[in-house]
């Protein structure tokens, strides 16, 4: 359902040019659970951003459901991210001025939904990540692991077809990490959600269907 062809990403600053991704081609099938590994700075987050259409590759092409994506309008892109994608960011990106429940409701605000629907869906998502007792807290009042789980709840609340998770277990202890992994595995199995996950943990990667290794922007496996 997602096809990357010869993706190249170059970051240019005034002084340096970084080749973050070098000729990456990748096919991700519907319902697949893919993990990406590689050393820090090898381009994993960049790749995830490009898959999620948050960033534009310098070269190459992304097709989603056989459709080219380079000519999508701002509105179409927003709609795609809202309906089809769930992002779990490496650094959570919660809004500190909103309570946990409001943070989780956020993606639903950008589609047609009633206040009650939003509340119900958000509560349900928070239940899945085991945070039902923290809905009225602000993110600053939560531990790192709890924030991570709020971010997961926000990613799954809109029932997306694809979840892009950037080290979702990176900040969790092994028990917590396994719980989060189970949530993702369950989403993949029962709902058929396509998941692309960046991880540093070989054990986690083993539980997924396929592993892609990056090194210095190039695909090595």
């Amino acid at each position: 359902m997602i096809r990357l062809q010869n993706i190249e990403k170059v970051y240019r600053t005034d002084t340096v040019e970084t080749l973050a991704l070098n000729s990456i081609s990748l096919d991700i099938a519907k319902g697949e659970f893919l993990s990406i590994m590689g050393p820090s700075g090898c381009g994993k987050s960049t790749l995830l951003n490009i898959i999620g259409l948050l960033d534009i590759p310098t070269k190459g092409e992304i097709k989603i459901d056989e459709q080219k994506t380079d000519s999508l309008s701002d509105k179409q892109l927003a709609n795609f991210r809202n309906k089809k994608l769930g992002f779990i960011f490496q650094s959570y990106h919660l809004i500190n001025d909103l309570k946990v429940l409001d943070n989780v409701e956020l993606p639903l605000l950008y589609r047609e939904s009633s206040a009650k629907e939003r509340k119900d869906l958000a509560s349900e998502a928070l239940g899945k990540v085991g945070l039902s007792n923290r809905v009225k807290h602000f993110p600053t009042q939560l531990s790192g692991g709890q924030k991570q789980r709020v971010a997961i709840a926000r990613a799954i609340v809109g029932r997306p077809e694809i979840i892009l998770a950037d080290e979702p277990t990176g900040n969790l202890d092994s028990t917590m990490g396994n719980e989060v992994m189970d949530i993702l595995l369950n989403l993949n199995k029962s709902d058929g959600t396509t998941i692309v996950m960046v991880t540093h943990d070989e054990n986690m990667a083993k539980k997924t269907h396929r592993l892609v290794r990056l090194f210095d922007g190039s695909q090595v496996q």
């Binding site: 948050l54 960033d55 701002d74 509105k75 927003a78 991210r81 990106h93 309570k99 956020l106 950008y110």
Partner: protein
């Protein structure tokens, strides 16, 4: 979305206080200024109440060494006839020195209908005054020569005084001043202190034998082509009759200009001050919004990532500003309406009301304009970049 924004604003009340205070203060300044402007404008829209073109004012000091009213009267009658005989003169009339557009005032109180009205402008005029200045008669009649014979001294009052004394009733024929004076006519209000002033309650009394010793002004209505040469001739004619008098001829056109200028100065000064203040406030607002948006790049990136379009991000930021402005305006309006409620400055209520509406619109416009550009910038933030920075 609206409720979401309210929640967001409420949760950030501390940070938002600065902006609310800033908008509140600028609102109050704008309100004060627009009250002044509206007041002046509404006054300006009202008729002047007289015709001042081609009216010259001759000021003289009393040349005769007599207090005898009859001989004074004879002398001035002679003077008036001589001046009126000049070719360019249409009409002349004597009056007290509180001529419209002059700074002089002469006021007293008037009792009538069981009331006493203070601060009534007293104008001493003769029967020609009307033909010179064309004060508009609303009802009744102007003075005539025969008025000296009347038992009760005839007076005219203006509409404002009629309303204060008698309400909706007509004042015509009513006795005032404990039965000593009779109202024979009502005239239109005159904006005696210039185009931007409000008319005061006024009464007109006829110059009589007893008043000649303090009458030192002669109004001369001349034809439109009367020039400086004629003014010289007029001066010489009068000077010839009043040997020891200090003579001065002024034009009502000029007096009107200068008194208008006089009342405009405070307005222009406050306008300049206000413009600087508004620029300051606008820059401040702009700065606060700009700062907020830069502080919220991560949030903006996130919203884009979960499905906000650039447009909805910018309209969110503009809406937030507008909601904050509304909060300030609610507080500001509470303060502003105290002025008409407590009648602080004795201005008509409609002045405050119009000023209030104008200031609210102005503030909304200001906040809207100031948030437009930062909002647009926010929409242009690239999601991946904003998220990366956090």
């Amino acid at each position: 979305m609206f409720k979401h924004l309210l929640t967001l604003i409420w949760n950030k009340k501390k940070q938002n206080l600065l902006m609310i205070a800033e908008v509140l203060i600028s609102f109050l300044v704008i309100f004060a200024l627009s009250t002044l402007i509206v007041f002046y404008y509404l006054n300006y829209r009202k008729p002047l109440g007289l015709e001042y073109e081609n009216v010259w004012v001759v000021s003289y000091s009393n040349p005769l060494k007599t207090e005898n009213g009859d001989s004074l009267k004879l002398f001035y009658k002679d003077l008036l006839n001589t001046v009126e005989a000049l070719p360019q003169v249409k009409k002349t009339g004597f009056c007290s020195n509180n001529i419209p557009f002059y700074q002089n005032t002469w006021s007293g109180s008037l009792k009538g209908n069981g009331k006493e009205i203070n601060n009534v402008d007293n104008y001493w005029v003769d029967e020609n005054y009307q033909d010179v200045l064309h004060v508009k008669l609303i009802s009744g009649r102007w003075f005539t020569k025969d008025d000296v014979l009347a038992k009760q001294k005839p007076i005219l009052i203006n509409q404002k005084l009629e309303k204060e004394l008698f309400g909706k009733q007509s004042a015509l024929g009513k006795l005032v001043d404990e039965g000593n004076r009779k109202i024979i006519g009502v005239v239109e209000d005159v904006k005696a202190k210039g185009d931007y002033s409000t008319p005061k309650v006024s009464m007109y009394m006829k110059v009589d034998t007893g008043s000649w010793h303090f009458i030192q002004r002669l109004l001369v209505k001349v034809s439109p082509n009367a020039d400086a040469a004629f003014e010289g001739r007029l001066y010489k004619t009068i000077a010839g009759m009043m040997k020891n008098s200090n003579l001065e001829i002024e034009h009502l056109v000029d007096k009107r200009k200068s008194i208008n200028y006089f009342s405009l100065v405070p307005m222009i000064v406050s306008l300049i001050v206000a413009v600087f203040l508004i620029i300051n406030v606008a820059l401040g607002l702009f700065g606060v919004l700009w700062y907020n948006i830069n502080k919220r790049r991560g949030e903006i990136g996130l919203r884009r990532a979960i499905g906000a379009t650039g447009k909805s991000v910018s309209s969110q930021l503009v809406s937030e500003s507008m909601i904050l402005a509304t909060l300030s305006l609610v507080i500001g309006t509470f303060f502003a309406i105290q002025f008409p409620l407590l009648d602080v400055f004795d201005l008509p209520k409609e002045v405050y009301l119009i000023a209030l509406v104008l200031s609210i619109l102005f503030i909304y416009l200001l906040v809207f304009i100031c948030s437009l550009y930062p909002g647009k910038q926010a929409a242009a933030i690239y999601p991946a970049v904003a998220l990366h920075e956090e």
